[in-house]
């Protein structure tokens, strides 16, 4: 029962995290590709409630930046220009869930702009890019995992149910895929696909590449379950009554694989998000100007950015809560009563 509650809690955490990213258009103050070339590499703005003269304000505000005298890329806060935070403001047009056009944003400022995580080389708001980038990265992970599980499920079912030469061939190929390290496989597969494509093609290309890499492990797990499930008495009975292969698989055997698939999903999704990030970081994935968590970080490959604009690193931390969520979910799903603690307790009572 505790296990079930843990699963529910982690699912809730993940649900909240994903809704944040889904509602990127509403939560982000600006369009992710909108440029402001006069303000490149602005540092993150601090939200104040106490102003320079120690006066308290109910409405939080940020200060505008001005160039530090004598410098061309260093900014200091300009205490004469407070920008009060306004909530539910109208701003850039976006599509919520890519369905409803809307102009409402959770927050914004009236005169000037607000950049909670600073801006990049083109003055684009990093906070907005982070939220919209999450849509690409998370969606790539989810879609990739769904494809992988589907492929692995089909292959595992065929190999386990029909056995014989089909089993041999499929499992040898699976071993091949299992033996190769996934990043290498990802690299190699990506190497042999077109390099310059538009963002949408790139996205689906990546999803396909990622999905093609990971099917072997779920396939083997599903195969194992199918192997044992097809020997159940009720399955044999159904077969005796003349049930077709397809019916047996659909009605009696494949439902048993659901818990394995769920656990595998919880393990695969964060891996795949990371895979998308890695590819995009290396310039093999989703290209600019479309943001993704990977290509937000690729700026850091320039030494000057690394030295001078440390806040460009902040998007790297965005996936930590997601990883935590999926890790927690996976371990809650895998949890079994631990024989060692039980054994230990009985031993303790002996001593």
């Amino acid at each position: 029962m505790i296990r079930r509650r843990k699963v529910k809690i982690w699912l809730l955490v993940l649900g909240v995290l994903h809704s944040i990213v889904i509602c990127a258009g509403f939560l982000a103050p600006y369009d992710p590709v909108e440029q402001d070339r006069k303000n490149p590499y602005l540092p993150p703005m601090r939200v104040h409630i106490v102003d320079a003269r120690k006066h308290f304000h109910v409405r939080p505000f940020v200060y505008a930046f001005q160039l530090r005298p004598g410098a061309f890329d260093q900014y200091v806060e300009d205490a004469t220009q407070p920008r009060p935070l306004k909530f539910f403001v109208t701003g850039d047009r976006y599509r919520l869930l890519s369905l409803f056009a809307a102009r409402f944003h959770l927050f914004g400022v009236e005169n000037g702009r607000i950049h909670l995580l600073g801006t990049d080389a083109f003055g684009r708001d990093q906070f907005s890019r982070l939220l919209f980038g999450g849509q690409i990265s998370l969606f790539a992970g989810l879609l990739g995992a769904a494809f992988t599980l589907f492929i692995g499920w089909c292959i595992g079912a065929v190999a386990g149910y029909f056995g014989g030469w089909r089993d041999d061939v499929l499992m040898r190929v699976a071993e091949l895929f299992l033996a190769l390290p996934w990043l290498y496989l990802l690299f190699a597969l990506r190497a042999f696909l077109p390099l310059t494509v538009n963002p949408l093609q790139a996205f689906f290309l990546i999803v396909a590449v990622i999905a093609a890499v990971g099917w072997a492990r779920p396939a083997r797990l599903v195969r194992g379950i199918v192997l044992s499930a097809k020997e159940h008495d009720f399955v044999r009975a159904a077969r005796g009554f003349g049930a077709s292969n397809f019916y047996l698989l659909r009605r009696h055997i494949l439902p048993e694989t659901s818990s394995v698939l769920l656990t595998q999903a919880a393990i695969l999704i964060p891996q795949y998000i990371l895979a998308e990030m890695t590819l995009s970081f290396l310039g093999l994935g989703v290209p600019e100007p479309v943001p993704s968590w990977g290509n937000l970080l690729s700026n850091l490959q320039q030494y000057s950015v690394l030295v001078s604009y440390w806040w460009m690193y902040l998007p790297a931390l965005a996936m930590v809560p997601f990883f935590l969520g999926y890790l927690g979910l996976a371990s809650a799903l895998q949890e079994r009563p631990n024989p060692y603690t039980i054994e230990r307790r009985s031993l303790g009572s002996l001593a």
Binding site: R172, E175, L176, A179, L180, P181, L183, Y184, F187, A188, L189, R190, A191, F192, L193, P194, L195, L274, M277, T278, F281, L282, G283, L284, L297, L300, Q301, Y303, L306, V307, W310, Y313, A316, L317, M319, V320, F323, L324, L327, Y340, T341, E343, R344, L347
Partner: protein
Amino acid sequence: MSYLLRRLAHAFLLIIGVSILAFLFTTLAPGNYFDEMRLNPQIAPETLVALRAQYQLDRPLPLRYISWLNSVFHGQMGFSFAYNAPVAPLLLVRAKNTLLLTVTATLLAWGIALPLGVWSAERLGQFPDRVISWGTAALLVVPDLALALGLLVLAVRTHWFPTGGMTSVEFESLSTLNKIRDLALHMMLPVAALVLSTLPLLVRHVRAAVAEVLHAPFLLAAEGHGIPRITLLFRYALPAAANPLLSLFGFSIGALLSGSLLIEVVMSWPGLGPFLLEAILARDIYIVIGGVLFSTIFLAAGNFLTDVLLYWLDPRIRTESASR
């Protein structure tokens, strides 16, 4: 013995399979190294045709595979378009740098993980175990990309370690001792990133494996004989828990050439990682195939090593294979 022979054959088949797979993917690939030259008005189309013929890109795939196999047996592994040189020597230089990094990191990671894991298992559920569990969990949720970049940002802002490359500019003029020091300083960051990213998994596996055997009757008996705790843990418990750990160690060996790709790129370590990335972007396919093959050979070797070690240490496998 037939068991080991079978495993060896298996490893060999794996390598062959991967090389064929890599070649198959090249046919699916649109474009090749000479495609960009087509845009150059100063290069005649006939030249391109000649170039393609020279590098045998116009021949059918099976023939190309056979001639590539031939060059593998001559220690060349194909020919790089970009470097205009055989692939194997190029790869060897980079592989040496990668190995320097990964061997150090692997030894270090295991050296830390074994005592930590054993300690954690011994104090299962107590304070040290909790601290270690939380620590590994925290490391586990920070992806290696974020970890490596974070270390890099830290190093750049504190100037504690040099960032990027393998040696300083003045490396050649340094004395031997200073050369080693310089190299060690440059290795610090990538090794730290590698160790931190592999450590949590290792610690968790050691902990689980040792915890499993720790309450076995023979250990209770040993304890009853008054054998010191340390001896008990490392001399008796650890070997008994070795089976899953040996598989993991084989995996570590197998990942020596492939586990550090990303971190090498991030830290600009002149190993296989950046080299392969460059080759991918340039469509220098033989380097990519060579790199994949190199790492597969290591993987197969790592797997085989595991089998040998398990065969040697675990009598159950010997009897099982004999009865077959």
